[in-house]
Amino acid sequence: MPESKLKYGVSLYSFAKPYFLREMDVPQLIARSKELGFSGYTFVAAQMCKGYPYPTDEFLDAIHEASERNHMDQVCWEGYLDFGMRNDRDLTAEEIEEFTRNDIIYARKAGFHMMKTQHSISPEIFQKMAPFCEKMDVKLCIEMHWPHYPKVKEWQTYLRIMEKSDGWLGVCPDTSIFQKYPHQLEINQALDDGFDPDKLQIILQMMRDDCEKEEILKVCTCDVEENYVEEYCQMFYRPEAKVGELADLLKYSHMIHGKFYYLADDEHDPCIPYEDIMPLIKKCGYEGYIVSEYEGHHCSVKEDENLQLKRHCKLMKRLYR
């Protein structure tokens, strides 16, 4: 049987709760990720890199050493492009360039060969970064995250730039762009906020039946219910991104963010269509990492991220075969 080309990683952002509570530090999270079945990791530098944007060599050495000790690939240094970090104005082009260069330098010092930024970098600056990326041996990718999708005009420009970059510039598709249904933790929040349980079930079924939003809204009898339906329909209903369009992105993909929020005992994701995504990734021959990114902690801190990540890893491996 040929070896699987796909590699399975984890975003340490998934462990936001134990990290914030100081239950585990970054080297411990790297070791835990290995135990859960992953072979590589990414981390959000501004979240977990003390001293960011100028972390100490001691910290960088510690995470590199923990990565080697646990045989974990350092997949990506996930930078923030805090475009609005000043109180009085957005960053200038010159400042964005300098922040990006700074992240690339520290990523390389820590042992990473990939850095992730955001679409607000602008096509001009993104293109301008290519020679520096090559010099530093660090690839630079932009995350395609909801509400963006491949047909957004700006992304057509970015893809053309990636095509001409000899692989130094790329994209990180986040599977949230394909989300088609609210996840269980969001549904629980709606119930907690007073959404009538019977009506909520009717509405969720109407979403599965592809009913028009106006029809769904007719079921609502209070502001709470109407607000949730508006939110569901805006964020999770009839996504603009089509799974088939992922094929065009994979050519330029440095990694994929495998977003998920909650997996029940059946290890099935009713929100993000992994049953379509994983076979497509295989068919296209994509050889990089898919990085599990658990974000259920946005809605509930009661869930066990270890269990959730194990389930997601199993789900992806099962559907890739």
């Binding site: 914030f20 977990m48 003390k50 805090d82 475009f83 000043r86 109180n87 009085d88 607000s120």
Partner: protein
């Protein structure tokens, strides 16, 4: 940012915000965008006064507007206003 002790508002020029072992006036904070208030770390508020507080309970009020640059782009960002009043005891 606003602060009050025993219902007396503190003039802005007497408030200092402390992170990363440094102290900032409000004016300095506006330029301190390369200082990161790290995840989960506590900031300290220092209030300058000619009249030291007496021992005992004091009502302390703080208000902060927190801009979150990650939540938006191009001039449109989430701002969260939070305030808190707590009785603290000086021993």
């Amino acid at each position: 940012m606003e602060a009050a002790v025993d219902d007396l508002m503190i003039p802005e020029e007497n408030i200092r915000f402390g992170v990363n072992n440094k102290w900032f006036t409000r004016k300095e904070m506006l330029e301190a965008n390369k200082e990161y208030w790290f995840t989960g770390e506590k900031a300290l508020i220092r209030i300058l006064s000619d009249k030291p507080l007496e021992k005992g309970a004091h009502k302390v009020y703080l208000k902060m507007v927190h801009k979150i640059p990650y939540t938006g782009y191009f001039g449109n960002y989430l701002h969260i206003t939070s305030d808190y009043t707590r009785t603290l005891t000086l021993n």
